[in-house]
């Protein structure tokens, strides 16, 4: 919880204010989505939490039930009737506290439920909005709240022994790759998943290497190094805005034409689709995922790839990039160019199951047992492909699968598609 020391009376008034705020700021689109549900329950059949447990509380639309209740009571067409006759009682602090598990611990914001709804409701969008109200009610999980607060204040989700800027320099030196920081007048501004800085430095080096290969001017900015947005995870809209603005302002400051999102699904959603709304106008630069940027460079002949001699592979489609972002074919284009024998999973592309770690779930300690249970679906699908190497295009997915490897003693090691691209770069033409 945001503040565990708060007394019951203050919590109640905080919840009341948050739910009224939710209802009155809901907007026409979300209200329409809440109005349209016919309680068919089919969204459960898309959700890996329900499929793994068969527990009906994990039905995606049920996760927004108190918010539907608040909307109907406070802002719907017949709100006075619902209030006067007590048909929709006010949402209580206790009720909302129970929903913390449903909205944070057991939802990856993966959006698979939005693909199955026969009415076409984007349930994941509703859940994201419900997270905002949970945050306002003081009910964001402690881990996400603390990281979001730290990130909006300092730029890093957590304090580190050595600032990320110095760690980035160290990675450049370790791999012998130039990783420019705070350059101006560049074509591309880069940022990096904190997961990569902390766990996968080779992926950071790979990003620098492919940029060097492309010969495009680029830079990291020390005031906006981190790609992830913990404000997005925690539901803190103002903090999400502050974290996004940090990147936007730095991209403007260095006159970048492209803000390149590394292998990080949620960073893509936060910056590609949501940042402009928080900024209040269209961004003065393009936001591109690294895979789509590289696929474009490949099509233009700027990226030259040799064959990666690693045999067959399977690939995890990151939900935020593919299902919610439309970056579906770019990674496949790159894999094809490297001559990989891609063995698709049973549910692939936009129907892929989440890695289980998305939406900040991997950061919530108490959610781990349930997360492992849902991950079994995914691991079975990966094993069934018989792909020799398991690739993904999202650092959080990779971290989540690495965790599964330890927990299940799984025999696969998730690898970065970007790192493979960097290893497969063809020699520059001049050297040929």
């Amino acid at each position: 919880m945001n503040d565990v020391t708060i007394d019951a009376e203050s919590r109640t008034s905080q919840v009341t204010a948050a739910m009224k705020g939710f209802a009155h700021e809901i907007g026409a689109l979300s209200a329409f989505r809440l109005e349209s549900c016919i309680h068919c329950g089919m969204c459960a059949d898309a959700c890996h939490y329900y499929i793994a447990t068969e527990d009906p509380q994990y039905t995606p639309i049920w996760k927004v039930e108190p918010f539907k209740q608040a909307y109907k009571r406070e802002a719907s067409a017949f709100a006075p009737v619902f209030r006067w006759f007590g048909f929709k009682p006010a949402v209580t602090a206790e009720q909302l506290a129970q929903w913390q598990h449903l909205l944070f611990d057991s939802c990856n914001l993966c959006g698979r439920c939005s693909l199955i709804c026969p009415i076409g409701i984007d349930v994941a969008a509703l859940i994201e909005q419900a997270r905002h109200a949970m945050f306002d009610a003081g009910l964001a999980p402690e881990e996400l709240y603390r990281k979001a607060e730290h990130q909006q204040r300092t730029g890093q989700p957590e304090a580190s022994l050595e600032p990320y800027r110095e760690q980035l320099r160290g990675i450049g030196e370790q791999f012998g790759i130039p990783l420019p920081i705070d350059a101006n007048e560049v074509e591309v501004m880069l940022c990096v998943p904190r997961t990569d800085i902390e766990h996968y430095p080779a992926a950071v080096a790979a990003l620098g290497l492919v940029m060097q290969h492309l010969g495009v001017s680029h830079t990291f900015r020390s005031d906006a190094l981190v790609a992830e947005n913990y404000g997005y995870y925690a539901g803190g809209k103002e903090w999400q805005r502050a974290i996004s603005l940090r990147l936007i302002e730095q991209a403007i400051a260095c006159h970048a034409k492209v803000l390149l999102i590394p292998e990080c699904g949620h960073a893509y959603t936060a910056l590609r689709w949501e940042a402009a709304d928080l900024y209040g106008k269209e961004l003065p630069f393009k936001v591109m995922a690294v895979t789509e940027y590289l696929a474009l460079a490949l099509a233009e002949g700027r990226l030259r790839l040799g064959k990666a001699d690693i045999g067959s592979v399977s690939f995890q489609d990151p939900c935020q990039l593919d299902r919610k972002g439309g970056v579906t074919e770019a990674p496949r284009t790159l894999m094809k160019a490297m001559g990989l024998d891609l063995r698709e999973m049973e549910n692939n592309r936009s129907f892929s199951f989440c890695c289980g770690g998305g939406g900040g779930v991997v950061d919530i300690e108490r959610a781990a047992p349930l997360r492992y249970r849902t991950m079994e679906i995914k691991l079975r699908e990966i094993d069934a492909t018989d792909g020799g190497t398991f690739l993904t295009g999202c650092s959080d997915c990779r971290h989540s699968f690495d965790d599964a490897k330890r927990h299940f003693d799984w025999d696969k090691t998730p690898q970065s598609l970007l790192e493979l691209v960097a290893k497969s770069l063809a020699p520059p033409r001049a050297a040929l």
């Binding site: 907007g27 689109l29 329409f32 059949d45 709304d277 106008k281 972002g325």
Partner: protein, 222 residues
């Protein structure tokens, strides 16, 4: 006395029901449509024409689950569409209904199906509709989601079907009495319509189109 009830049912009661229906439907739609509409500032992946047309296409494609979901939801969807089709056939292709609707709207009647066929369709539809309730009661997910609206809407729709069948079969009372009861049940359904889930009749296609277009704007699947 029964004639009085019949006159009441298709006279003032029907007028009140239609009035509540229209005012209620417009009020409920305005209730959310007049809320704030957020402007999207992100750059779309495709042009307006493309994502609007994909959105419109989604009104059709969402009528059946994607192949990846058919095994889990195909039967439920088939059941849902079956009784809806049965309802539409009974409402729009039964002679007395067509005569009633055309009289009400002042339009020319259209071809209808023989009464015996309609009776058969109505019996099958009512049976399927009973299956819908069975499914709602036996599915743990649907039972959790269900509220008064779900059960009352089912009840009032079934009431209209059963009174209609009884009327056409002259079952249990004089025809005029049965017809009065049937029309009164329709009046009740019209009055309930704007307050409950029957509103999905107005929502389903715009919802599919709107959400389809929003997803297509991102280049995401619909």
């Amino acid at each position: 006395m029964s004639m009085d009830w019949l006159s009441f049912a298709r006279g003032p009661a029907l007028k009140v029901a239609i009035g509540v229906f229209f005012v209620g439907v417009v009020w409920r739609i305005l209730g959310f449509a007049l809320l704030r509409i957020r402007r999207e500032h992100s750059r779309p992946r495709s042009g307006l024409l493309r994502y609007v047309s994909i959105g419109l296409f989604a009104t059709a494609t969402r009528s059946w689950p994607h192949p990846q979901f058919v095994k889990r939801t195909g039967a439920g969807e088939a059941l849902g569409y079956s009784y809806h089709m049965g309802l539409f056939a009974v409402i729009l292709l039964f002679g007395p209904h067509v005569a009633f609707l055309c009289g009400l709207l002042g339009i020319h009647p259209w071809p209808v199906l023989p009464s015996s066929v309609i009776t058969g369709i109505a019996v099958v539809t009512a049976t399927l509709f009973a299956g819908v309730l069975y499914r709602r009661l036996t599915s743990r997910v649907m039972r959790l989601l269900s509220n008064f609206d779900d059960y009352f809407t089912w009840f009032i729709t079934m009431l209209v079907m059963c009174t209609g069948l009884a009327t056409s079969a002259h079952l249990g009372a004089r025809y005029e009495t049965l017809l009065a009861i049937h029309i009164l049940s329709v009046d009740a359904l019209l009055i309930w319509f704007p307050f409950g889930k029957l509103m999905h009749a107005f929502y389903i296609m715009p919802s599919r189109a709107l959400n389809g277009a929003i997803l297509a704007r991102k280049g995401a699947p619909t």
